[in-house]
């Protein structure tokens, strides 16, 4: 049975999932942790899903701030769903939920599964579920988005504020070989992506002419009035808004060799 009580943590799925054994209650693995009734030293038996910085914790003792108020005992095993708390000489996490380990859990846990891959796959699955169009194809061109036609809305408007966080939009033209999800009328699809290498945008895929791959595309409404360089995308007479495909997440572009795996992951 899961203990699910925390409201003091941010929304969203916890990023760290591991199986652990409680070794000591009201204790911690480093002095910087404020010890309470709910802090425990836990041995990490198996990291199930985690970023690289936690994946090495298998076999180590860490500090867990337990979720809920239910009593736990030394020696009990739990599946912890947690967020990071303190990284110092040791690691402390804050559990969002902890579930007693059942036979069902054990059956689901593939021994030797790579925790970072599990996390990556879950993130990809999320992007695929949210995608409007998933295609395989080749990037035929990368262009600066078109300027508005003189005399139309937005033409000649003053340049908008300049910021180092400007996405520097580019438009990639993809020649589609196969459509794996969604519908698109043409053999070509245009995708907006940020060419900027600023800290805000560097992780977004940067399309290159000749690049072959599987592309996970998302319909996005953009207010062209607020994006100087996109004014030319607004349909004539439209109220400064354009619906475009974007690819903004690292999981939105994959090499062609991933095609079979991605097709398998797309839900019908």
């Amino acid at each position: 049975m899961a203990t699910k009580t925390r409201s003091d943590l941010p929304e969203g799925s916890p990023a760290i999932i591991f199986k652990g054994t409680v070794k000591k209650i009201k204790s911690a693995t480093m002095k910087e942790v404020p010890i309470s009734d709910r802090t425990a030293v836990v041995r990490v038996d198996q990291v199930i899903e985690a970023p690289r910085t936690f994946a090495h914790c298998g076999g180590q003792d860490i500090t867990v701030e337990l979720a809920g108020k239910k009593k736990v005992s030394v020696g009990e095993q739990f599946i912890f769903h947690a967020n990071s708390w303190i990284f110092g000489d040791s690691v402390a996490v804050r559990a969002v939920t902890q579930e007693r380990v059942t036979k069902e859990h054990l059956a689901l846990m593939s021994p030797g599964g790579e925790p970072t891959e599990q996390r990556k796959n879950r993130q990809l699955q999320k992007r695929l579920n949210a995608a409007d169009l998933v295609v395989s194809g080749k990037v035929a061109a990368v262009t600066i988005p078109p300027e508005p036609v003189p005399g139309t809305r937005g033409a000649g408007a003053p340049r908008k504020p300049v910021s180092e966080h400007d996405p520097k939009w580019r438009q990639a033209v993809i020649v589609v070989d196969q459509t794996h999800k969604g519908k698109h009328d043409s053999k070509q699809v245009k995708v907006l992506f940020p060419a900027s290498t600023d800290v805000r945008w560097y992780k977004a895929p940067k399309f290159q002419v000749g690049q072959k791959g599987v592309f996970v595309l998302h319909k996005t409404k953009i207010k062209t009035d607020e994006h100087h360089e996109l004014r030319g995308l607004a349909p004539r007479g439209a109220a400064g808004e354009a619906e475009v495909y974007t690819a903004l997440d690292p999981a939105d572009a994959h090499p062609l060799k991933q095609q079979a795996v991605i097709k398998e992951m797309i839900r019908p």
């Binding site: 003091d8 943590l9 941010p10 929304e11 969203g12 799925s13 916890p14 990023a15 760290i16 480093m30 910087e32 404020p34 985690a50 970023p51 690289r52 910085t53 936690f54 090495h56 947690a82 967020n83 990071s84 708390w85 303190i86 990284f87 110092g88 000489d89 040791s90 690691v91 996490v93 804050r94 996390r119 993130q123 003053p158 340049r159 908008k160 504020p161 300049v162 910021s163 180092e164 966080h165 400007d166 996405p167 939009w169 940020p194 900027s196 290498t197 600023d198 800290v199 805000r200 560097y202 992780k203 953009i222 607020e226 994006h227 997440d249």
Partner: protein
């Protein structure tokens, strides 16, 4: 006419014309502390942890917070801050800043400041995610930076976008407002173009739900907008200065000209004519143009670090009439750092007290004895032997400077992961007579890179010059890390 700065190219950094300012004979300084802030449990990381700031708690200088573009190690929805409770000797990472896991668990800008007597820590951040082209301002507070509780959101504004929030804070020490925290966040608010230079201020930021007011400090008509850096400096007597980059021209190649403008408020921003105490005799407008018509390139680079016009400011804590400003401009193909001073509350200004070629990220502080500290990063050498040299200089009179090298590291490794490579700023402050600062640099464990010594928390072999993972055996790639330092006054 000066040669046009080439865009997107590293400037040559060979020694050139003599820089301004006399250098004192180098005196070996004892007890300089330099610490790599990455904790041991993150020994395996190789992220570009650039753009650092620190905040020393004036009420307890053992308590120091730091920040950089460091993501949450757990990949969650909170970005971390660095925390030290022993004066910067050791550091942990605590994730308490609102962010977004799907956008990298970090921020797109972050600065920190403790108020002087309340123990409250404030942050100005660009919060992720934000709509393209419209950075989202958050002003945050925690009453106990050790607690691990998520920082409280005091301001959450996207509007048309807000850039480079830079927070400073002070507690009112006497008078009717005694005990109240005054917080000033300098930022570039696209919701008020072209006069975008703004101070978002609260005169009682410590209360449960403080009100913040956007004070527009640009009185002229800049070319579309002001530049990103807007930096406030607070004196305990209620004087608040701010410096900003007032754009005069800006062309389609992202090159422009600007005035460096200083504004002042004598009542902590509490009155009808906020930040209008200084009037320029040339055009009778608020804000003294301390340097006119400097050149900048918003798309320029010095080595792997982008440029675009830096500014910094510090006021003497024992005399609010004395204020120093540092700024950068394009000088031919070079990026020149300048330091100026006013001794009459910003009314008139010296010429260059100090210039440094091809140096950026100036940070200034003045200690309780009136000594001014200057931190910067200079690109030296050429080609593959180029190095980023991080220097701390100090002066008791503004004309004779004593310099120490804190770090000298290869400039072209590691490769850049994103912009900014080192940061669009670094930070220096004083507490009493001591100077505290932070910079980012290549983290190769090589003692000759750190002439004043260095301590690593992360695993490292200083003999083989290799970083090691948490197992203390597996090699880890070199990356950019934040380094804390303390120079006794």
């Amino acid at each position: 006419m000066a040669k046009k700065t080439s865009r997107k190219t590293a400037r040559p950094a060979a020694p050139r014309k003599k820089s301004a300012g006399k250098m004192a004979a180098s005196k070996a300084s004892t007890n300089v502390l330099v610490v790599n802030m990455i904790p041991r449990a993150l020994s395996g990381e190789s992220h570009q942890d650039s753009e650092p700031t620190i905040a020393v708690n004036p009420a307890n200088p053992l308590h120091i917070a730091g920040s950089a573009f460091t993501p949450d190690p757990g990949g969650g929805n909170l970005a971390p801050i660095f925390v030290s409770v022993d004066g910067g000797n050791t550091w942990t990472l605590k994730s308490i800043v609102p962010s977004s896991a799907s956008d990298g668990s970090a921020t797109a800008d972050i600065t920190l400041a403790f108020s002087t007597a309340s123990n409250k820590l404030y942050a100005g951040i660009i919060r992720l995610p934000f709509p393209p082209g419209r950075p989202r301002l958050n002003i945050l507070r925690t009453d106990n930076f050790q607690s691990g509780a998520t920082m409280k959101v005091l301001v959450d504004r996207t509007g048309k976008g807000v850039d480079q929030p830079y927070v400073q804070a002070a507690t009112v020490l006497n008078g009717p407002d005694q005990g109240k925290d005054r917080v000033y966040v300098g930022d570039n608010d696209f919701g008020n173009t072209p006069r975008s230079a703004t101070i978002d201020q609260s005169l009682n930021a410590g209360k449960t739900s403080p009100a913040f007011t956007s004070v527009r400090i640009e009185s002229r008509s800049p070319a579309g907008q002001d530049g990103p850096p807007v930096r406030p400096a607070i004196h305990p007597d209620g004087t608040v200065y701010a410096v900003f980059h007032s754009w005069l021209t800006f062309d389609s190649n992202d090159e422009g000209t600007a005035d460096i403008v200083v504004v002042r408020d004598d009542n902590g921003g509490n009155g009808p004519n906020k930040f209008k105490a200084l009037v320029d005799s040339g055009d009778s407008k608020a804000g003294i143009r301390i340097v006119k018509n400097v050149k900048f390139n918003f798309d320029g680079f010095l080595g792997l670090q982008r440029t675009g016009g830096d500014v910094a400011i510090a006021v003497d804590p024992s005399n609010s009439s004395i204020v120093y400003v540092a700024y950068n401009d394009d000088d031919g193909a070079d990026y020149m750092l300048h330091v100026l001073r006013s001794t009459n509350r910003g009314v008139t200004w010296s010429g260059d007290l100090r210039t440094v070629r091809n140096a950026l990220n100036p940070a200034l502080a003045i200690n309780s004895a009136g000594k001014v500290g200057l931190l910067y990063q200079q690109l030296t050498g050429s080609g593959p032997t180029q190095r980023w040299v991080t220097k701390f200089e100090s002066s008791t009179n503004g004309t004779t400077w004593s310099a120490m090298t804190l770090a000298t590291v290869p400039a072209n490794t590691p490769p850049k992961q994103f912009d900014p490579y080192l940061g669009d700023y670094e930070h220096l402050m004083s507490a009493g007579k001591d100077f505290y600062g932070v910079f980012c640099a290549n983290n190769t464990p090589n003692k000759s890179n750190f002439p004043k010594g260095v301590t690593y928390q992360r695993n490292a072999n200083f003999t083989s010059h290799t970083l090691l993972d948490v197992d203390n055996a597996t090699p880890v790639d070199v990356s950019i890390d934040p380094f804390f330092f303390k120079v006794p006054g």
